[in-house]
Amino acid sequence: MTSTPTRARPRTVGRARAVLRRLGSLVLTLWVASFVVFASLSLVPGDPTAWLLRGHNPSPQARAAIREQYHLDEPFLVRYGHWLGGVLHGDFGRSLRDRAPVSHLLATQLPTTLTLVALSGLLITIVGMTVGAYAALRHGRVSERVVLLLVTIGFATPSFVAAIVLKWIFALKLGIFPTFGLGDGGWGDRLQHLALPTVALSVTYLALVTRITRSAMLEQLSRDHVEVAIARGLPRRQVIWRHVFRNALGPILTVSGPNIAALLVSSMIVEYAFGLPGIGQLLVSAADTNDFPVVQAIVLVLVAAFVIANTLVDLVYPLLDPTITSPQAAR
């Protein structure tokens, strides 16, 4: 198809405007989120210094350090300004437990979480789309029903349930995989330690992606142009690949994208269950030991990552489906 410049131009302009609007709303959301995370501290009753240091036995110096870290002697908006300025420069304050810089804690724990999420994302995408497509192509057969049954169970299985069942079967009964920590060896050892956590994290989302892929493929399979293509005698493989799978990608991405972003949050459950040193486990132990600066920082980082990932999905979607020009219309 040839498109004249006069037609193409407004479309690009419209696209650019939509992208800008989406980025603007991203910035607004991030800003409000930072405000909520910061202002939540003023919801606690009483003196924030005493509250922050509860359960600890603070020296006068520690008290002074806290007052300084949160600028507690200054007005609210000034405090927020200081805090936001710090965050934008990568300074999240210091942990109340050992006075370590929170940014340092984040930097040491983040790689584990990201590796886990990346492995899980790969597993979910590859296996989910393959099994979903398989089920769609076996529509009406027993194998499709088996897949659907597994999907129903998998979708209701939270990662902590998957974690203990996997531990029970593979670590205890079969003794194949380790149940705790990251190991201390090289990549092979680390991957072996991450195998069960990756599966545990993936189960729910794997079921979801399989289900979406199946229904999107089925919908495409029943469309006229596909039936015509098959009737014309085009090779089945080619029809399915070009006309069915490609067109099904859009719906698959819109539904699974945000859910794969949610892996970042669910990761904490798996890290806790398998004793993996990621930021999720750091968040849980910080919430457990009243280490509020660490909680604040990780919540903010995770919310930001979640929002940015969702925005990326919205922006990529129109590239897959040219009939949709604005990210807003994708909803």
């Binding site: 209701a156 949610a262 669910s266 849980v284 909680v295």
Partner: protein, 284 residues
């Protein structure tokens, strides 16, 4: 079978025609769990909070149907006792988020204009906070337990209902019957609450059933992480967390029993919710 029972059976069949067997089983399972939860303090065979150190880590037996944990607590009693907290939390989340979501969605859809813009933008921002994260933030501010987590999660679930209601209200508002009521001079509030609300309530109910399953999973996760219901109070999420050491010690039931209960209840809620949604779409 007696001749008298036959017409009754026939009527029942007719009434349930088109409902899948799975949905009926699901609804029955939910009823059983609710009854167990309500009656838990009378029917538990043992005190779910009291251990018996002469009977730790036992396999299932006639005395302990699901065995005991590392403190000698009866797993079946904990499971039944835990049904109460495990179902009460999600109920709170669903009721609060549905009522608030109804109000927000109704106002946004009905008023339109800048009110709608502000509310919708607010909902978009709320979507940015995953429920689990908001709950952990609340727990670290107000202390561990079910209350803070439930309140936080009610807020996190609000936009799902609000968005649904807003969308349906936008459609309903343009329907002839609403215009007719307007022509009769009835007030907007009256039409919205007394005439439109009953029409969209079933759809919201279907959404609520599905939300209940999600909320149960999220709250169980909070308890699993040790930030929600605190032992020895029985709760399914906390049981799975506490049962991990028993699992590694060779007594898997303390962790597996609540795990299976969670999966079954969530499947049942999903099935019932989807059946409701299907039926409503079939009607309208």
């Amino acid at each position: 079978m007696s001749a008298l029972a036959e017409p009754a059976l026939k009527r029942l069949r007719q009434r349930t025609r088109g409902i899948s067997a799975l949905s009926i089983v699901s609804a029955a399972i939910l009823v059983i769990f609710v009854v167990l939860a309500l009656a838990s303090s009378w029917i538990v065979p043992y005190d779910p909070t009291a251990g018996d150190f002469t009977a730790i880590l036992q396999d299932p037996s006639a005395e302990h149907w699901l065995g005991t944990d590392q403190q000698g607590k009866d797993v079946l009693s904990m499971l039944i006792g835990g049904a109460w907290t495990s179902l009460l939390g999600p109920l709170g989340v669903v009721v609060v988020s549905t009522v608030l979501g109804f109000v927000v969605g109704m106002v946004a859809g009905w008023r339109g204009g800048w009110v709608d813009s502000v509310l919708s933008r607010g909902m978009d921002i709320l979507f940015a906070f995953p429920a689990l994260l908001l709950a952990i933030l609340a727990v670290s501010l107000f202390g561990k337990g079910l209350t803070a987590a439930t309140v936080a999660m009610s807020i996190a679930y609000l936009p799902y209902t609000a968005r649904l209601v807003r969308g349906v209200v936008l459609q309903e508002r343009a329907r002839p019957y609403v215009l007719a009521y307007k022509g009769l001079g009835l007030s907007d509030t009256f039409i919205a609450v007394r005439r439109v609300l009953p029409n969209i309530a079933p759809l919201v109910l279907a959404q609520s059933a599905i939300n209940f399953g999600y909320a149960l999973l999220d709250l169980a996760a909070i308890s699993f992480l040790g930030l929600g219901v605190q032992p020895p109070e029985p709760d399914w999420g906390a049981m799975i967390n506490g049962g991990q050491s028993a699992l590694l010690a060779g007594a898997p039931y303390a962790a597996l029993a609540p795990a299976v209960a969670i999966v079954i209840v969530v499947i049942a809620f999903n099935e019932v919710g989807e059946e409701l949604a299907d039926r409503i779409q079939g009607i309208s």
